[in-house]
């Protein structure tokens, strides 16, 4: 059981994030397709959750007392897969089967395909509603488990996302926390060029949510924000995680062309070298 894991030192979390990013690069290179930027950008959020915030047990993925983590932005699942493997949900070797025929690691996550995968996502905008449903069922059963949902910023262009915000805010669904990957890019360009989202914070606040902004690469800030969310009983909480897409690799960072791209041989070598030496941290 994993109830006292918040004691993990920050240096350890940093090194776990590095391992996750190395896995992502290796997986995508092996798969010859996939989405690099968002996955790399959210590695610190994923490791904060699975190594510090969530109450969970890799040995018992369906443990009734676990906290739930649902991914709405399914395309960044390489970060989810890599983190689950790093945390012991399944063998890391299996990561290299990503997107291959017969693999449990589908191109976008599929419920129960792997231990720890709590929902199906891929078409943007669907995850927050699912997480809200889980949160409501926990309230019906008077269970204290918490529900976390990871969203991309781009999927805030989907109407369904706002339908879910509206309901959760109106009904003060306080066991629900949204973590938003605010990396300012989507597949066709910068979010503010495609269809502006700012000010995202004010928009979500207007839906009666508590909104916290953090540096999405600071484990401490992410963990502290989740602790605040837990103590905020009057509203659900959204944590805007300001991230750098492609974090850790110089030529990927802040370049929207890497939203839906994988590294070739040369790019992988350079990426791994930068990650291993930490030259771009």
């Amino acid at each position: 059981m994993n109830t006292a894991q918040s004691q993990i030192p920050t240096e350890k979390l940093v090194s776990l994030s590095k391992a996750v990013r190395i896995s992502i690069i290796t997986m995508l290179h092996e798969a010859l397709n996939g989405h690099a930027a968002g996955a790399m950008g959210m590695a610190d959020v994923f490791t904060s959750l699975y190594f510090s915030i969530l109450k969970h047990d890799p040995e018992k993925p369906d443990w009734n007392e676990r906290d739930y983590l649902l991914l709405s932005a399914g395309h960044i699942c390489p970060a989810w897969y890599a983190t689950l493997a790093e945390r012991g949900y399944f063998d890391k070797k299996e990561l290299l089967t990503l997107r291959q025929l017969g693999s449990r690691l589908q191109g976008h996550p599929h419920l129960n395909s792997l231990p720890g995968i709590e929902n199906t996502s891929g078409p943007l905008g669907q995850g927050l509603s699912q997480a809200l449903g889980v949160a409501l069922s926990l309230k019906l059963d008077s269970q204290p488990n918490r529900v976390y949902c990871i969203l991309s910023d781009g999927e805030h262009q989907e109407g369904q996302t706002w339908e879910a915000y509206l309901y959760a805010g109106a009904h003060a669904v306080n066991n629900l926390t949204a973590l938003i990957d605010r990396n300012h890019i989507q597949i066709g360009g910068p979010t503010e060029t495609i269809l502006p989202l700012d000010s995202l914070k004010e928009k979500i606040e207007a839906f009666n949510w508590n909104v916290i902004e953090v540096d999405g690469h600071s484990h401490q800030e992410i963990i502290a924000a989740c602790a605040t969310a837990k103590q905020t009983t009057s509203k659900p909480t959204a944590i805007i995680c300001n991230t750098t897409p492609g974090k850790g690799v110089s030529f990927m960072e802040n370049n929207y062309h890497w939203h839906g791209k994988f590294p070739d041989d040369t790019e992988m070598k350079q990426a791994l070298a930068e990650l291993q030496t930490g030259t771009h941290e």
Binding site: P123, Q130, G133, V134
Partner: protein
Amino acid sequence: MNKKTTRDGFGEALVEIGKNNHKVVGLCADLTDSTRMQAFSETFPDRFFEMGVAEENMIGVAAGLALRGKVPIAASYATFSPQNAMGPLRASVCYSKLNVKVIGGHAGISTGHDGATHQALEDIALMRSLPNMLVIVPADYFQAKKATHALVQHHGPAYLRIGKYGTSTVTNEDSDFEIGKAQVLKQGSTVTLIACGTLVSEALEAAKTLEEHNISTAVINMHTIKPLDRFAILDATHSDLIITMEEHQVIGGLGSAVAEVLAELPHHPPLHRIGVQDSFGESGPGKALLKKYGLDASAVVKLVLSEL
């Protein structure tokens, strides 16, 4: 019309089910009265979620509730849910095989005065195409009641198509209902009418008239569109003519489903599909619309007499 409708059967059954099955939860997109979910919402307020006019979120939330073992029953008009919510139904519900029940009300042209926007005529086609989805179209009040019970006992995604049009009852309290097993309401050797929903009573009426013309007519109530009862269709191939009847587009509905089975056989009798012919409806009384769009008993009789 004072006759009890399929929506009444659904609403009454849901309250019965709710008493014994505490996992059952209701969701509605601001149409509790007209989908007949009102009684459930008043009897079990703790297990009822008023989702507002937000069908995509309603289906997504239903998926989330099902993730933790609840049995969500999500109701709206069929033109809004499933039709507005196909994305979440496909990825969040069907691909995950989640135990979500979708109730589509005001289905068919007999919805009447609200007009084309509110008359669902494509929902069977849409739902039938989704893997893991069950599609049930009850013929009357009694059958809707039994179908609702059966739907909840079945584990997995399911769609129940109901309406507000009061038909003559074609089943009774004691009739059997089994998902996937068509009901032979009348035996006959020359013509087989395969109907669903409100048109089953029209089929029986047509059969009565055809018998007066000495044309032996069978009537099958194909209440389950998916999985389709292939054996019932194979039996029907012994007749000289098969006619399907539905309050739905001829593209993609019951007629298409039957045609798919027949087309794979080496020999089969000709098939005619009674249904809406690739058009939208309009405002008017339900009965008048059924007549105008060639969906009532007289249209079937005319067709059979011209074909034989």
